[in-house]
């Protein structure tokens, strides 16, 4: 028997657990439609692997985990995937989320992959793989994926099974311990095997005598598993409170129980692990308490994940007068914005209060500083201070008062004589702080990206500047070479002048020597011009005609005749040109090629002229530059004469 410590604070609200007949499990009939939200766990939502129109069987994978804190989802029954779309989910915000809609075919046939196994024959890795593949998440409400929890690298010496269930009204864990103690114990032994040398404590509150008796009987022959009965006090089921109660130690701020060598798992989760490993069954159903005076058939029901809450409440004969439905217990649950939403893996209770069961809260009055909230706070915070700070939006200061350690148990609000909605203030402040932290993270990220970009732009600019400098240096060298060649007495200006003079002379001589062409005979150039003019005229007329046709102008007919006439003329001109050219032996393709050659040579010369070296460059550089320039100029002249010869073969030959 281990020594119990106790934890500070806590309250004793009316339990009302007998209302839901703990220990009697009823299986709900198969609903026609199931809606499976993709984000049931904490962490990133899963990704659907089925699409509309797919036929699935019970237990088949329908959504795959994304990242390490995510879990697979499976079809709760066989049927047809009717849709993958955004739908409202069971969340206080009433927001939508991507869900898979499944229309049950009523056959409820298991998928072929679902096979039982003997864990004795499986390796530890295979057991872990079966747990992972079953998509099991913490069923006490937190929704933390079990495989991620088991993958801890911290040394664990105690496995703590949480069967406390301290919240009033709820009896789902009580029921599962009574009806399936065998599954829980087998699941526990599996976890103990995976964790190595550990002892196990099953903690149960003393208001569940039947569950205690059943679990004690089931573990009587195992010295490593101990059932510990703890006194009833809310919130003794909180992970941190339970650990303090059993060990006297506190989980460090911001830490997890594994820091103390303890792994805390809910009993329903352990049962799901048993089902996954022994039977191969994924997490597709759970036990949910439906209770409150607003339902005529309260009790514990085995429901499929994805069953719509209005269907469940119909089956439990909800009173027509009931005006609200709470998901979770009376202390930590929240009022559902709509009951047309699906139940998820973490939903342990549906509470439908009767009309006079939870009277609407009186409006909050001023805080009278009675300090009762401080007395009951299990986290030893200062709820009053936190309230003032949250009310005045002093978020920096409220963090110094350890708001983030608040477990939102609601004990402070429960005892507040002024009926101040304290927890709602804390939830608001926590939300804003998380949001701000997120924004700060994004701002830091944006800053890094901005700075990286600035640096890149500066680097690019510097590189450009360097390239420019390198070019300038090369040009200076070329200039120097030019100077050097000038010094040799080879004056380029005089040479160029001489070349021009020679050219003029030659042209004169050619003009006098060549026979003038007979005026009657059409000239090549003239023919070309005529053809081009005819083409342009035709184009203009065609455009005018198109415009007129588009606007239904009265002159359209006239324009039509003009266009026809011009088409003929243009054709005639083109024909005449072609005939003349063929007579002359002009090859248009060759001319084009020659033109390209000439343009290339011309560009080279111009480029070189620009690159003339600086005056102060060395002689050798000048000389080299001059040689290159001369060679380029020679090339240009050759290209020019070649082009001329092609263009005017008659003139050349004559």
């Amino acid at each position: 028997m281990i020594q119990l410590y106790d934890f500070p604070g806590g309250i004793h609200p009316p339990e009302n657990k007998e209302l839901s007949n703990p220990g009697q499990l009823v299986t709900l009939p198969l609903p026609e439609e199931l809606i499976i939200p993709l984000g049931q766990h904490i962490g990133a939502p899963s990704e659907a692997v089925v699409k509309k129109g797919d036929q699935v069987s019970k237990g088949q994978l329908i959504a795959k985990a994304i990242g390490s804190r995510s879990a697979d989802l499976h079809a709760p029954t066989s049927g047809l995937i009717a849709d993958v779309s955004d739908q409202q989910v069971a969340h206080a915000s009433g927001l939508k989320e991507t869900c898979i809609t499944l229309h049950a075919d009523g056959k409820d046939t298991w998928h072929a992959n679902i096979t039982p196994a003997d864990p004795e024959q499986l390796s530890d890795d295979e057991v872990r793989q079966r747990i992972y593949a079953a998509g099991i998440i913490g069923m006490g409400g937190a929704g933390f994926p079990s495989n991620a929890k088991l993958a801890t690298d911290k040394p664990i010496h105690t496995l703590l099974l949480n069967g406390v269930e301290c919240e009033p009204y709820i009896s789902a864990d009580d029921t599962i311990m009574q009806v399936d103690s065998d599954g829980i114990v087998k699941g526990t032994r599996l976890l103990m095997r995976l964790l190595g040398q550990v002892k196990c404590i099953i903690a149960i509150e003393d208001n569940k005598p039947k569950a205690i008796a059943t679990m004690q009987a089931a573990t009587a022959d195992d010295a490593a598993i101990e059932v510990v009965v703890i006194p009833t006090k809310y919130p003794s089921g909180g992970e941190k409170q339970l650990i303090q109660n059993l060990t006297g130690k506190q989980v460090p701020k911001g830490g997890i129980p594994a820091d103390l060598g303890i792994l805390c798992v809910n009993v329903a989760t352990v049962n799901a692990i048993h089902d996954a490993v022994y039977l191969g069954r994924p997490s597709i159903d759970r036990i949910t308490t439906v209770t409150g005076k607003g339902v005529n058939k309260p009790g514990n029901y085995r429901v499929l994940v994805g069953t719509k809450i209005d269907f469940i409440l119909d089956q439990c004969e909800m009173d027509a007068s009931a005006n609200k439905v709470v998901l979770g217990g009376p202390m930590m649950g929240f009022q559902l914005p709509s009951i047309q939403v699906p139940l998820v893996k973490t939903s342990n209770c549906l509470l439908v209060p009767g009309v006079d069961e939870f009277p609407a809260a009186d409006a909050a009055m001023s805080c009278i500083r009675c300090g009762q909230c401080e007395v009951v706070c299990p986290a030893q915070l200062l709820p009053q201070e936190l309230y003032w700070l949250a009310k005045s939006d002093a978020f920096d200061k409220i963090e110094q008062y350890n708001l983030m350690d608040c477990i939102e148990c609601g004990a402070c609000a429960y005892v507040c004589p002024s009926q101040i909605p304290l927890v709602q203030h804390y939830r608001y402040a926590k939300g804003v702080i998380r949001h701000k932290a997120q924004e700060a993270k994004q701002a830091e990220h944006a800053k890094l990206r901005f700075e990286a970009r600035e640096q890149r732009l500066i680097d690019e600019k510097n590189a450009k500047e360097e390239r420019r400098k390198a070019r300038a240096a090369a040009a200076a060298a070329a200039q120097a070479a030019k100077r050097a060649s000038q010094a040799d007495g080879d004056d380029p200006i005089a040479a160029a002048k001489a070349r021009v003079a020679a050219k003029q002379q030659a042209a004169k001589a050619q003009a006098t020597d060549s026979h003038p062409e007979p005026a009657a005979k059409p000239n090549h150039k003239e023919l070309k011009t005529a053809a081009a003019i005819a083409r342009t005229k035709l184009k203009k007329a065609q455009k005018a005609f198109a415009d007129a046709a588009a606007t239904d102008h009265p002159d359209t007919d006239k324009l039509q005749t003009t266009v026809n006439e011009l088409t003929q003329r243009s054709a005639a001109a083109a024909e005449a040109l072609a005939k003349f050219e063929s007579q002359l032996g002009v090859d248009p393709e060759a001319i084009k090629a020659a033109q390209v050659e000439w343009a290339k040579a011309n560009a080279k010369v111009r480029k070189l002229t620009k690159l003339a070296p600086e005056d102060d460059a060395t002689e050798a550089v000048h000389k080299e530059y001059q040689q290159t320039l001369d060679a380029a100029q020679k090339d240009l002249q050759q290209a020019e004469s070649h082009l001329q010869s092609l263009k005017n073969p008659t003139e050349e030959s004559s």
Binding site: G39, P353, A360, A361, A364, K391, Q424, H425
Partner: protein
């Protein structure tokens, strides 16, 4: 007389020694840059939107540190940033300068991809490289990187960029502030069920 000389001498020697120590410390522990600029920059929202009239948050932080610009020219930061800056610099809180723009909800740029002509102008405008694309190919915004600065909207020649408010998801949603009720101002149905149990 000799006492006077000894006193002057010893004081001079001490002054030299401490001067040397201080001089060495000033060199050894020299702080690069202006630390107040970094502190101010930490408080700015880093949208790099330029609505303050500076090309980015850091230049504005420098302007504030040099006291050439008031602290109220950052619309994306809004009142919260002004308050934080006022706290840091120990100056008075000013209302947001309307000239710089209005405090609005945070938005994210989305490119209507069918209409994008691939001109790359928005890519050049984006201060955080959050737009992906190449010349004559469709561009798109990397939503996670976008700061909602608006700078890409103006250069777009075909106006295909929309600034849309960030959608609230189940993950980003948080509880609103409870109504500040007093007893004479009765409202039914407070949603925290903790009280309901009472």
């Amino acid at each position: 007389m000799s006492i006077l000389i000894y006193a002057i001498l010893s004081l001079t020697v001490m002054a030299l020694i401490f001067g040397a120590i201080l001089g060495y410390a000033a060199k050894r522990f020299k702080v690069e840059g202006n630390p107040i600029v970094d502190q101010i920059n930490e408080l700015l929202p880093q949208t790099q939107c330029g609505q303050c009239g500076h090309p980015g948050c850091k230049p504005y932080a420098e302007a504030i540190a040099n006291q050439t610009d008031p602290i109220n020219r950052c619309p994306p930061g809004g009142e919260a940033t002004i308050k934080a800056l006022a706290d840091l610099l120990d100056v008075e809180v000013l209302p947001l300068d309307a000239e710089a723009g209005v405090d609005s909800i945070r938005k994210i740029a989305y490119i209507r991809e069918d209409e994008c002509i691939g001109c790359t102008k928005c890519i050049q405008a984006c201060p955080v490289d959050a737009i992906l694309g190449a010349a004559k190919l469709m561009h798109t915004v990397i939503v996670d990187e976008c700061t909602g600065c608006d700078l890409c909207v103006e250069p777009c020649p075909v106006d295909c960029i929309d600034m849309l408010p960030i959608e609230v998801t189940k993950q980003s949603w948080h509880w609103h502030k409870p109504d500040n009720l007093i007893a004479t101002d009765r409202q039914p149905n407070l949603t925290v069920t903790g009280e309901d149990a009472a």
